[in-house]
Symmetry: C2
Subunit: 265 residues, 2 copies
């Protein structure tokens, strides 16, 4: 039997004493107040606190306010710290005592967190997860579309990472009568965000070439901006009209419905 | 253009003054401390607070503790109040002042919440959403499987609501190389919960009849219990062995992977 993750009673190396513990705390979608009350309790009792903010954009986040809530200094991690240095600093702290790592959204949706968690378990550090709101369920909920009608989801990359995969995923889903959630690429370090317009232009360009009618000028799409913030926007329209809608600031995502039979206002 | 949902600046009837407001606050996965700090702030400034707890199980929840956190009395709603009386009491309160409705998980994943939200907007009551952790992203995250490899999700109903749909969904997903998240039926009012064992037995029974090898005794599955609690369990094994595993108390869900190529401990 493979125990992928577990509570205190079922650790994979349960006979060995644990060195320390690493608690992943999800910050949800918008700012430091997106964490749960449990997350705050965990941070208040931690010896060391880290935060990574590059895997997603938290629009109204302030590290100073987070520090003041937790009553403790927080070390901000860059992509480099987790992906090249393999989270060395986090693992060292977690070997010495209780360590909290704040992450945007819900932990373990980003591959980086899964990798770090496995490294911790391998080093005999117990891990726990305090879940947070995720763009996956938030976007589906805000759209009014039914969760069980969504197929595979996909990320639409920036044009310089051109890929026809998103178009293919939408096409396959539509053929099966399913909606597609498209996450739009972000580069938080360069503050660059794929917009609803960019994503639709990319898809229509592929449509012109492949002509499979997965996304056409007169098919429907739903654009979402700032899910989880105080100013979320959700607009459904024909793609040619949605292209010219003003969604305000990032982050964005796009939903491509299979057919229009959802509950409309 | 159809505006499905929006922030203060973009209400569908923006020229008319609003009567009141209805804020849906997600309680996350386990207890009252699963709500975000924003959710608590909203509740503290509400005139009226409701909670519905039947759409999902919050294992360690206490209404008394939630009332004490919010500093206000909370009216508990039953299925009947929302589904037969169409949330009349909630809408009346929201017409008169700021009203918070606490719900398990992330709001708007349950159809009941979508229906109530549309009724509120129709009655010219502004609605807002404070997102919470959802079983959808929590289960995917805990499994260690990659989010973008999941196909359509499905609920496996109690045997008295026999359906072959879950088997078909798993079969279609597997053919496309995709994992399936199976939510397991719950009846919180009768405290009845579909277990991992029940769900596997149901699927294997359908397999015996249809022989499409979507789920066999030697195929792999991942059982999850109490995601988001302090004692989550995640076990991956061959279905015939998973059947006899002890997962402890509810709630449960089941993941059926397409193939075994996920990162194992």
């Amino acid at each position: 039997m493979i125990i992928l993750s577990c509570g205190p009673a079922l650790h994979s190396k349960e006979d060995e004493p644990h060195l320390g513990e690493l608690v992943f705390v999800g910050l949800g979608l918008n700012d430091e107040k997106g964490m749960s009350l449990t997350g705050l309790e965990e941070a208040k009792s931690a010896d060391t606190i880290f935060a990574e903010l590059y895997t997603n954009l938290l629009l109204d986040f302030s590290i100073k306010r987070l520090e003041s809530l937790c009553g403790n200094k927080i070390t901000l991690l860059k992509r480099n710290d987790l992906e090249e240095k393999n989270g060395e600093a986090v693992l060292q702290a977690a070997e010495a005592g209780k360590t909290v790592l704040f992450v945007p959204g819900d932990p373990l949706i980003a591959t980086t967190h899964i990798t770090l968690r496995l490294a911790a378990e391998k080093a005999n550090i117990r891990t726990r997860i305090v879940h947070g709101a995720s763009i996956i369920s938030a976007a589906i909920g805000l759209s009014g579309l039914h969760n069980y009608k969504f197929g595979k989801s996909v990320t639409i990359p920036f044009p310089d990472n051109y890929s026809e995969t998103p178009y293919e995923v939408i096409n396959q889903n539509r053929k099966a009568g399913l909606h597609t959630l498209c996450l739009l690429d972000i580069d938080t370090e360069r503050q660059r965000y794929m917009t609803v317009r960019d994503s639709l232009e990319t898809l229509l360009k592929i449509e012109k070439k492949r002509k499979q009618k997965a996304v056409t000028k007169t098919s429907l799409a739903v654009g979402i901006a700032r899910a989880g913030s105080k100013t979320p926007i959700v607009k459904a329209d024909y793609t040619q009209r949605l292209l010219n809608q003003d969604f305000g600031g990032p982050p964005y995502c796009l939903l491509v419905p299979a057919e229009l039979h959802f509950m409309e206002a």
